[in-house]
């Protein structure tokens, strides 16, 4: 690596100003997990690092009076996994964070950093899509909100514009009757990056009819970007989660995703795995929805 400029930002506006000045030539560093890997593999050699790890405003987990959960971009995966506030508001998030890599990475890697990377194998993108979170970005023109379903644009590319920084993620409160679950397939129990398939399900079930009133489905590892499975959602919305309905939804999912074959698995195998994980995760989410309804009675 040759000479590299380094800016340690103390406030969000300092970071934004540095990014604006760099005109796209700077790399933001927070936990440094992905950046470290990319640098080791010589895929990236930064000439300017903007270190945001000391910006207090980007830290913290807050649950607002309206039930909205706000997770600062610098929150570590470990904090997401262990925070009682997160568990109470969005139980899918600790379940998701538990699946991330290993302890050392969870201690260092940040929620916002992972989302900004837009890695198709990443776990947080799957959850923010399923939970219909809002991504709040800070930029030269101020703050802008982007729905999670529109945030992931292309391989390692987000909707963030030049000079913008992901500031926090806002999760709307779960509707009554909602159940969530996160499921993941990996070749081993040891941490895996390659060939994983993840599914996040948020299902709102109408107690009287047992119908799925609303649903959010995010998938990881089944294409070049984290996937919002709109068509599969549509196949389930308003329906009772009966075998024939789920079979049909799985058929829709198989056509909706475009997983890449790799040295371990074929694309068809990953399609199959996605349907199995969807079935299992949907079943857990619906069971939780039913239990949640019972608990409220």
């Amino acid at each position: 690596m040759s000479e590299c400029r380094y800016t340690r930002a103390r406030r969000v506006d300092e970071a934004v100003a540095a990014l604006a000045e760099a005109k796209g030539d700077a790399h933001v560093i927070a936990g440094g997990i992905a950046l470290g890997i990319l640098m080791n593999e010589k895929l990236v050699s930064p000439t300017w690092l903007v270190d945001i790890s000391r910006i207090e405003a980007l830290k913290g987990i807050v649950r607002g009076p309206d039930g909205t959960l706000r997770i600062g971009a610098l929150t570590t995966h470990r904090e997401v996994e262990e925070s009682p506030a997160v568990a109470a508001a969005q139980p899918m998030l600790p379940e998701m964070a538990a699946e991330i890599a290993c302890g050392r990475i969870k201690n260092r890697g940040t929620f916002g950093g992972n989302l900004s990377l837009a890695d198709p194998q990443g776990d947080p993108p799957v959850a923010v899509i399923a939970l219909r979170a809002t991504m709040r970005a800070a930029g030269p023109l101020g703050v802008r909100d982007i729905p999670a379903t529109e945030f992931f644009r292309d391989l390692y590319t987000t909707a963030l514009r030049e000079g913008e920084l992901l500031q926090e993620v806002l999760f709307p409160p779960l509707a009554p009757g909602a159940g969530t679950a996160y499921g993941k397939f990996a070749a081993r129990r040891a941490m895996d990056y390659t060939s994983t398939v993840a599914v996040g399900v948020r299902a709102v079930v109408e107690p009287a009819t047992g119908c799925i009133k609303d649903i959010g489905l995010g998938l990881g590892g089944v294409g070049p970007i984290p996937v919002w499975a709109r068509a599969t959602e549509a196949a389930l919305r308003g329906m009772r989660p009966e075998p024939a309905v789920i079979d049909r939804a799985c058929d829709v999912l198989v056509d909706e995703i475009e997983p890449l074959a790799d040295h371990l698995y074929s694309a068809d195998f990953k399609r199959h795995v996605a349907t199995v994980i969807l079935r299992r995760t949907l079943a857990r989410a619906c069971a939780r929805a039913a239990r949640g309804v019972e608990a409220r009675r």
């Binding site: 040891a190 079979d247 698995y265």
Partner: protein, 811 residues
Amino acid sequence: MTASWKEPDGEKFALGSLAEQAHWQGEYRRILEAARIADGGHPGEAAATVGRRLPRADVLYKVRGRARYVANVPMEGALHCRFVRSPHAHARIMAIDTAAAAKASGVVAVLTGAEIAPERLLVGTLTDDTPVLATDKVRYAGEPVVAIAALTEAEAEAACHLVAVSYQELPMVLTPEAALAPGAAEIDPKGNVIGDLRHEKGDLEAGFGAADVVIENTYRTEPIEHAFLEPPAGLAFVDPDGVLTVMVCTQYPHYHHRQLARVTGLPIERVRVVQTVVGGAFGGKMDNTVECAIALLALKTGRPVRMIYTREEVFVGTTKRHAMTIRYRLGARRDGRITALDAEYLADGGAYRSYSLIVGGRAVIHTGMPYNIPNMRTHYVVTFTNYPPSGAMRSFGVVKLAFAIECMMNELADRLGLNPIALRRINAYADGDRTGTGQTLLDVGYLKTLDAIEPIYAERRRVLEAEPVREGRKRGLGIACLGYGIGYSGTRNPSTARVRAAADGSVTAYCGTPDIGTGSDMSLAQIAAQSSGIGLHRIRVVSGDSTKTDDSGPTSASRTTYFSGNAALIAGQDFKRQFEAALARALALPEDQVRLENDTITARNQCLSFEDACRRIAGEIEGICGYGKFDPDIAVNILTFKGNPYPTYTYATHLVEIEVDEELGQIDVVRCWCAHDAGTVVNPIGAEGQIEGGVAMGMGQALWENVVRKDGVIVNPHYRDYLLPGAKDVPLEIECLWVASKDRTGPYGAKGVAEVSLIPVPAAIAGALTDACGVWPRRLPMAAEYVLRLVRGRDGRPLLARAGAEGRGLR
């Protein structure tokens, strides 16, 4: 030349200075004594140590991060070496232009193969066929072409990019089938066949004629990476006495010593190879990697030169386990007696010969093991391909034979309606049986390992049938067995040891085979202590220094406990005899009245401590050298494969219990029981460690490991994509069962463990998969997609079923 070299007195440089060593040794002795007494030893019998659970001398500094690997041996002014490697799998080298690299920042020297005299250029194991640096053509992508020494690793790396090599690409030969095809491009001047080995026993056709059942299957395995944590690494320098010294993590210092003398042209006594602490080897540290290049660069520059492979270089630039196709045809009578086995092997030897012929010879000899099959024909062919050389790896290929034969045994049991253990009993080798090579077997503990497993198998079968299993999952039990020859195949491979004492009562045992992390130094010290009567705490083992020990072969082929253990035993006895005689002379007593036992000397009516006795003969003690050489008469005719290939064999039966997710094709290994006939177990802690490691390694090969190659390139040369089992994947319960057994030729009855712990594991998991799901795996690894395809094939369903097409849809 920088001479910051401190004579480390034969230690493996693990501990730095002598002062530092003294601290660790003091601490270690306290732990050792406590462990010995905790395991039932008595303070008064300090030397009775064989069979005791004793902590190894190296654990203290290893767990505290103080072990000194090549990477952290301090050496002032050392240069860093990097290779320019071929991007092509098969190409003629037209020109090499190093001018720009030589002028680059920090570069001190550039070395090409052209600078090495042709008669010194080639190195190898059985055959010197591998250039230190390629000169006229490259035979695999990743082959070293130019070596650059620079002040920093980054500068050496940068300079590598400035070397311009022009290649003329040649047709790639990527499979053994392609290598044998008419008109195939020639990889080696002598043709594409590395070895074509044949062996026959009995009358094959008569054997099949007598069979009621004949089964024929083909099994395929993929190349495997050793996956040692420490990459190949070395540090070469000329010491103040003018001796070229190469410190390297290796299994065989003496091999490098001879090779370096030849490659550099230095007299043999001007070379020294010192083994550093080895961070894993498994057969992958027996070939030349960094050694010759850094030695030549050290001589060229007059400065120390260090080289450490990157992980990617480990994948592309070191040997692999052979990919192999095994076709077996097995005939048996209705009662289960096997009458015939026809075996054909086709192995991918890669770009150079390395240990391909050794792997082949072992395959021929072990075909059918541990079953007594009266009629056999074996044909083994290994060819060159344009991939990294295939070489030695734990079990020299027998793990693949076990997979094939044990799968066949399960299928045979199924066809005949026999219990798999009963079928194995019917065909088991027993004492007095003659093998395919005509060797009469003795001390065969195979049936004892089946005896140990059988009640556990029955009990687990009962439990599994009684306990419900989660929906979508299946459970199964699998057993697999082995017989494995100890030592080199069919050639003499003696080991020697020397035991010496100093006037202060400290004792050094010099052993020729180095400890590569297995704990062999500890086992050898235990044996020498037992046979000499000297307390274990006094004995320091020096191994792995080519100038301080005799060439006793490599630490490989499960041979150290048996061969070097016998040498240590004899050396200990010899020391004891000489020591007692010298002391008798000093005390003017008849020789038979002086006894060294349990670390104490009894001389007529008085007792002396060992230190006191050493002081009494201070003038003589340094002259006493107990010498032991163990050289069993091993010979096999390589054309007929008749003779005694190994002095003894070990046997084992493993039982594994798995759970299979039938919707995803995933296998969880839940429990594992490993019954071994290892003879006397010298140090159970060390042996258990070997078994646990072997189970983990076998799981990797069974379920995930695969060096994926495409168009001449390895596509997964890193641990992100080359999957090994992690701590969460290995079963918590791995039970070692040592059957009561003593080898009449082994040291205190020991045979050894090592490789055999790995061999049955993939086969046992395959058997358990059959038991669980009723499918018959024929390939390794049994990755999730492969297993799912087997399960889908069983049900006559496609991999990706659609509800529309199938009605009921996926379950």
